[in-house]
Subunit: 205 residues, 2 copies
Amino acid sequence: MTQSKSTNITWHEGTVSSDERHKNLNQKGVTLWMTGLSGSGKSTVAVALEQVLLQRGKHAYRLDGDNIRHGLNKNLGFSPEDRAENIRRIGEVSKLFADAGIITIASFISPYASDRDTVRKLHSDATIPYLEIFVDCSLEEAEKRDPKGLYKKARAGEIKGFTGIDAPYEAPQKPELHLRTDQFSIAESVQAILDLLDTHSLLSA
Amino acid sequence: MTQSKSTNITWHEGTVSSDERHKNLNQKGVTLWMTGLSGSGKSTVAVALEQVLLQRGKHAYRLDGDNIRHGLNKNLGFSPEDRAENIRRIGEVSKLFADAGIITIASFISPYASDRDTVRKLHSDATIPYLEIFVDCSLEEAEKRDPKGLYKKARAGEIKGFTGIDAPYEAPQKPELHLRTDQFSIAESVQAILDLLDTHSLLSA
């Protein structure tokens, strides 16, 4: 311990451990990676989940297109290289948030299995929990919802390379959770994620 | 409020507000940007500060070369463009952490005023608190400390463009806090930062 005569400040050698951080927050950090088609319900479930976690005194934060594409990744376009770099950077930031003890909800279409595998590996290399959640509904249903009118534009040829229309969505083969948002309510989807967090003992220190 | 028959999960329209987040954490998010020469004491003060904040039940996280250069910014070199992009990305990530309600301690030499101004503007545009801390000691003292042996290498010409030797350090003109680590103890520096946070009412909701 080091102590100055003029203050009552003390600290120990070395940096704050994950255990100390988790005890402080009474939870463990994790990245919840929500992948699925546009319109599959990722954002809706993520927004509800974040609120419910906060109600329960947990600390969660959402990363999504709104706070990433106009900020950290505003210098990236939609070329194959830029799409991969987009997901890589989001993966690195998610890892930092999870390392900080936060329940990190990353909600991105992330259509390519190889990009998602990169993010999973970033976390496993650092032994930081990572759970992939496949937010699944039929293309027909997603297109019927079309909350942002993007499918309409893609069908009209106004948007090129749109996932599900003229670009592939590679469905996760072994997600930690498979949510069928065309069969279950939002509340049921949120409950399923809470159960997943509980199963992995992430909601306590 | 929306409620499913099968769960007791409820939530409100819209996303979690900053106020809700701050009440939950009993603090406000902020970026503490620590700038100064290599060896000025940025990391030492940052590590101690993080511990002391956690002891007091606050939620803090450090961003530094260790968790950024090998992760998010591993694809950046040391060209002028890459240096600017390095600081820009760190600024964006700091902003996200501060938005999440975390006391974010970013500790980087960040020698150029224009880069630091970019980061300050990112925060002010989003009305997220940002406090610049100039961690100051004489070049002579920093070079005497030389904790990583980098000044020795720079003097020997083994490292080019080293801040303070053959690259400039543009000292902040109006930092929110000016720490003289060659005149005050680490504990006194930590206390000064706690006082700064208190003055800005950041240690309560």
